[in-house]
């Protein structure tokens, strides 16, 4: 519980001034003004102390992702089950786009009427792509006069990726299937179902839904997938370059190509290069969920200055054999392995 001595002092000064005015001038109206000032603290403070602990707060986003230029709809829901009107309540939050510095703490006034749930829409405007984080830090509740306040620590983050605006790409030549010695192509079987099952393993993020072993999963109450013996080779690898100055165009081009490849029902993986660890992470994107996962991975990767760090590292490190589509800005280049 925080005490606001300045407010108390100010209130006392007003009280004393009015009391003196009443004493000197004996005016009934001044007395009428003075009485509420004495009544308020007697009502406000005890009721506040009794009720401040009952407030409940939730925060979430209405949308899992948004396109660039569309506001992120953050919902702030505060419930006051008590009969005490919290006339002044402030929610403190931070905002951040992963590609920018963190902004200062902001506050918003909330009306917390008695027995009422206040739902607020906080639209977060965005000017560029990136992972937007809305961090609700705390809720500060005040009594009616502002003498005391209670800070409810919350510290809850809501992350929403902002996807770039895509463009129409038509020039991308469908990549040829690659038939390796150890791996076979599964082109004829779009459902990726093979009668020869190599193994059954636990479900991992990114696995295709068609591979889920529904019967087994329902029996064991856990998702399992069937791993075919002859797994299809990943014929296309998209390799975005995380050049700082061109990141927005790069991601936009990447998403456009992903959409195109999905439309053409081509199999591909996105190879995400981490310039700090020199690691590569392969992410598949076949549906909305995996697409979001891809963007989470993308947006948390560090940016760098060079324009060929990823492709150089890819070539040097002898990654998977595939047709590599190297993406930099709004341009892309296909390297046949």
């Amino acid at each position: 519980m925080k005490r606001h001595y300045f407010t108390m002092a100010l209130y006392s000064i007003i009280l004393i001034a009015l009391s003196l005015a009443v004493y000197f001038y004996q005016q009934p109206f001044l007395l009428a003004l003075l009485l509420p000032l004495y009544i308020f603290p007697m009502i406000s403070v005890p009721l506040f102390i009794k009720n401040y602990g009952q407030i409940k707060v939730q925060v979430y986003s209405d949308s899992a992702y948004v396109e660039k230029g569309h506001a992120v709809p953050i919902r702030l829901v505060a419930t006051n089950p008590s009969i005490y009107p919290f006339f002044r309540t402030e929610a403190a939050f931070t905002l951040r786009n992963q590609y920018f510095k963190e902004t200062k703490l902001r506050k918003i006034a909330i009306a917390l009427s008695p027995k009422h749930t206040e739902k607020m829409l906080i639209p977060i405007e965005n000017g560029s792509i990136g992972m937007i984080t809305f961090g609700l830090k705390y809720i500060e509740l005040y009594d009616m006069l502002g003498f005391f306040s209670y800070k409810m620590e919350i510290d809850r983050d809501v992350n929403v990726p902002v996807l770039p605006v895509t463009r129409e790409i038509t020039e991308l030549v469908p990549a040829p299937s690659y038939e390796g010695e150890e791996e076979c192509v599964e082109n004829s079987n779009k459902g990726m179902v093979s009668s020869d099952i190599k193994e059954i393993r636990e479900y991992h993020e990114g696995d295709r839904l068609q591979r889920i072993h529904w019967k087994l999963s329902s029996k064991l109450d856990q998702l399992f997938v069937k791993e075919p013996e002859n797994t299809a080779v990943l014929s296309i690898v998209l390799l975005p370059e995380f050049t700082k100055s061109k990141i927005e165009d790069t991601i936009s081009t990447l998403l456009s190509i992903v959409n195109l490849l999905n439309k053409q029902e081509n199999r591909f993986e996105v190879c995400v290069f981490n310039s700090q660890t020199f690691d590569f992470e392969y992410v598949m994107s076949t549906d909305e969920e995996s697409l979001l996962n891809l963007f989470v991975v993308l947006y948390y990767k560090p940016l760098y200055e060079g324009e060929s760090k990823a492709i150089d590292a890819y070539t040097m490190s002898g990654q998977k054999k595939a047709s590599v589509i190297h993406i930099l800005g709004d341009k892309f280049e296909i390297f046949e392995d």
């Binding site: 001038y25 509420p36 009544i39 009306a111 607020m120 937007i132």
Partner: protein
């Protein structure tokens, strides 16, 4: 402009931070209209609580129902203007224009009402502070019931316009108190108590506004649909995003305020109804406040800037320190004498010879160039010399003067008192029936004097006057001008259009007295043409000389300014002159209020020539401080000091319109050339007997005079509402058409969907406010089937079909993302119209 600024600020924030907070709002429907109306009620409570409270406390009659209804209507109207930015601006402009036109039209009614209110308030204050009559501003119409009501309509609307900004706009309790508190305190300070309900009304507003201000979300900035809070936040450099609080939040605050106000009123009612304000200050704070208030009542606001206090009467040679002379119209002298002509009788009390630092001194001093005293003679010595050599044409008159409130250190003597003229003769005085029968007698004395009736001043042997000392007095002191003033006088002479005063030389005249009189005439002509008489000229700046400032800068003043400046200018032209103060008794006051003394024999009071013949009678005249006056005396060779009047007539003095705060409306329209219906000047009245305590009178309230301004302003208000509705409709139609033309059907379909949904929700056709289109159609079907057949006034099958078609197209447009054909949209429009009939 605001939008542009906001977009700039948003862009800057997005460029630097990548994110920015948009237009935050509660998910609960805003019910902005209800919030506006709630604030309208608060505005009304504050406005009527103060105005009505003041009227009730001061027992001023007015039409309660009309004023209350009018204030309520305008409170609601003005607050509803806050719905939209454009409505606010246009609405306020229209209201202000209509207000001004109506005020000009009913100016005399409104002004009379305003004057009536101020007169009554002044009257009450005068009674409370025992100040007698302080002021009585002119009222053009006698019926205060009508005029006060009209004035309250205008004052009330003005108050509402202000309160609407402080309550709806800023939600600021301090500003609200500042606007309303003085009205009620005006009455309460002198123990005039309005019914406690008015106190309660004002308290409810104060507490509600205080609570809502505290919440920070209750400000209602005028904002359009898409306006953001960026510029506000940016300007204030704070990161608190104000948004419109929910209606329930506002209602709770008002409820809390009502409960607390009710408790306060209930608790304090016994004390409130019995408490009496002590007339006599019991502590220094109250005493000082009382003295400030009385000073304000007597001298007006500018009186606080006076260098010394003046309540009328003599200034005893002190000049320029009083910005405004406000006589209290209290009788200073009772003068009993026999008027002998139509000329003004002057009662001299002070003569100033030596002038320095804005003051005329009675004692005559002459300093040499080094500042050392060269010559000195007291005023009693001067009087003694002059009394022995008075102008005497042989007339003999007697005057009894009773000094009741004038400066007791002085005698008030008519021209020309004979030697040892002042006596106290109880027998004669006892015969005089003064006005003040009920008051303690003041200082009384008898003066015998020799009046000059036809200006036939006799040439005298001035040998007795030619004592060296007296001669020196005339030639040095009566020609004395401070060095620093010489330049100012010369400048004035140079700047005069008529150069005859500047170029006049004594040597051009054969007779020196002719020259001197001519100089007085020229100065008077200059005054008459280029100067303005006013009782409120403003005080002379500290660093300036009053004469210099008067003749070269302000050119406006009252008698003391004219007389003192004339003396200095005459001296500059080599004419011995001096400054005189006293009282004047013009023939008008004698005719108007002179009390004839039938028991007194005229022979005991006057002997000699006169212009009134056998009509002469002894009268007693009550001379109040507004007749205090300043004039000059010019030394004419062979005649001595002869009085001259140099103050030009004051054409506006009756009302002192320029600075009188009570003439608020006068000052507003003083310079406007409006075609205002002027009341018959023959019927001005300020008859207090017309005051009647009239409770609400329906027949009287139907008086067209009262209703005309109300109807006009209410009509203006309705025009604003209708105009605003039309504006919204037209704007929506334009937007719809543009969208339809461009093939962007989504906004149109969405807006119609929301509209129909709201309508169906209100009629309980759909239970859920967020019902899907299909649910809406199903709900409609159920609703139609549930209705009795005779109540269905449309083709139910067609209507149900329309409902499903509406749902189909809505679904198609909103959710599929596909574009419907133009024909489908035409059908959709017709369906929407049809559904509107449900």
């Amino acid at each position: 402009m605001i939008k542009w600024l906001e977009s700039k600020f948003l862009k800057r924030t997005l460029d630097s931070e990548g994110v920015a907070v948009g237009n935050i709002h509660s998910e609960t429907p805003h019910r902005r209209l209800l919030i506006c109306l709630l604030r309208g009620i608060l505005t009304f409570l504050a406005a009527y609580g103060t105005i009505g409270g003041l009227m009730e406390a001061m027992e001023i009659p007015y039409n309660r129902l009309l004023v209350a209804g009018y204030l309520l209507f305008f409170s609601l109207l003005c607050t509803v203007l806050y719905m939209r930015k454009i409505a606010f601006y246009i609405g306020y402009i229209i209201i202000l224009i209509v207000y001004t036109i109506e005020l000009a039209k009913y100016y005399y009614y409104a002004n009379s009402g305003f004057q009536a209110i101020t007169n009554i308030i002044y009257e009450k204050y005068s009674d409370f502070f025992n100040l007698l009559s302080i002021r009585q501003a002119q009222e053009f119409y006698a019926d205060r019931y009508v005029t006060v009501t009209v004035a309250l309509l205008f004052i009330g609307l003005f108050l509402i316009l202000l309160l609407n900004v402080t309550i709806s706009g800023y939600m600021n309790v301090f500003e609200t108190v500042l606007i309303t508190f003085p009205f009620l305190e005006l009455a309460l300070y002198i123990g005039k108590k309005p019914p406690i309900i008015f106190i309660g009304m004002v308290l409810i507003t104060y507490i509600s506004v205080g609570l809502m201000q505290f919440t920070k979300y209750s400000r209602m900035p005028i904002k359009g649909k898409n306006t953001k809070e960026y510029s506000r936040v940016f300007k204030k450099r704070e990161n608190v995003y104000a948004y419109q609080g929910s209606f329930s939040g506002n209602v709770i605050a008002v409820c809390v305020a009502v409960i607390i106000s009710a408790v306060v009123c209930f608790v304090s009612l016994p004390a409130y109804s019995t408490a009496e304000v002590n007339k006599f200050a019991t502590n220094p704070v109250r005493s000082e406040t009382d003295s400030l208030i009385t000073r304000y009542i007597q001298t007006g606001f500018l009186g606080f800037f006076n260098k010394y206090q003046s309540k009328g009467g003599l200034s005893s040679g002190r000049l320029g320190g009083v910005s405004s002379v406000r006589p209290d119209f209290q009788t200073d002298l009772y003068v009993t004498f026999a008027p002998y002509s139509a000329q003004t009788v002057y009662l001299k009390a002070f003569e100033g010879s030596y002038y320095a630092i804005n003051t005329f001194y009675e004692d005559a001093i002459k300093k040499d160039e080094t500042g050392a005293l060269e010559y000195f003679i007291t005023h009693t010595q001067i009087d003694a010399i002059e009394n022995k050599n008075i102008v005497d044409v042989g007339n003999r008159a007697t005057m009894v003067v009773e000094n009741v409130d004038a400066d007791f250190t002085r005698n008030y003597l008519p021209y020309y008192p004979i030697e040892d003229s002042i006596k106290t003769d109880d027998k004669l005085i006892d015969k005089v029936n003064f006005y003040n029968d009920n008051t303690a007698p003041g200082q009384e004395y008898i003066v015998t004097f020799s009046p000059v009736v036809y200006n036939d001043y006799p040439v005298r042997d001035d040998k007795n006057l030619h004592y060296d000392q007296y001669k020196k007095y005339i030639e040095t002191v009566c020609l004395q001008i401070p060095d620093e003033l010489q330049e100012g006088i010369t400048k004035h002479f140079d700047e005069m259009e008529d150069k005859s005063l500047r170029d006049a030389k004594e040597s051009d005249y054969s007779d020196v007295n002719e020259y001197r009189q001519q100089m007085v005439n020229l100065i008077y002509q200059d005054y008459f043409t280029n100067f303005e008489y006013t009782m409120s000229p403003g005080s002379t700046p500290y660093s300036s000389d009053v004469v210099d400032y008067f003749i070269n800068e302000s050119r406006r003043g009252y008698c003391a300014h004219f007389a003192s400046s004339a003396v200095m200018m005459l001296r500059a032209k080599g004419v011995p002159a001096r400054y005189v103060e006293g009282y004047c008794v013009p023939i008008g006051i004698i005719e108007e209020s002179g009390k004839i003394q039938p028991n007194l024999d005229i022979k005991d009071w006057y002997e000699g020539e006169n212009t009134l013949g056998t009509d002469m009678q002894v009268v007693t005249v009550a001379v109040n401080d507004s007749y205090a006056h300043a004039w000059i005396e010019v030394y004419l060779e062979g005649y001595g000091f002869v009085p001259f009047e140099v103050t030009p007539p004051d054409f506006l003095e009756e009302n002192d319109e320029t600075l009188n705060i009570a003439n608020l409306f006068n000052s507003i329209f003083a310079n406007m050339n409006l075609n205002i219906e002027t009341p018959d000047p023959a019927t001005p009245t300020n008859n207090r007997n017309t005051f009647k305590k009239i409770n609400f009178n329906l027949i009287k309230s139907m008086d067209l005079t009262l209703f005309a301004p109300v109807i006009s302003v209410v009509a203006a208000g309705l025009i604003v509402i209708v105009g605003f509705a039309l504006y919204c409709r037209i704007k929506q139609a334009i937007i719809d058409n543009l969208n339809m033309k461009s093939g962007n059907y989504k906004p149109f379909v969405y807006s119609r969907y929301v509209k129909i949904l709201n309508k169906f929700s209100q009629k309980k056709i759909v239970a859920n406010k967020n019902a899907l289109p299909k649910e809406l159609a199903e709900g409609l079907e159920k609703y139609i089937y549930s209705l009795p057949v005779d109540k269905i006034k449309y083709d139910s099958c067609e209507m149900i079909k329309a409902g499903y078609e509406f749902a189909r197209i809505t679904d198609f447009v909103l959710y599929s993302g596909e574009v419907p054909s133009a024909e489908e949209m035409e059908t959709y429009r017709e369906i929407v119209k049809r559904l509107g009939k449900v």
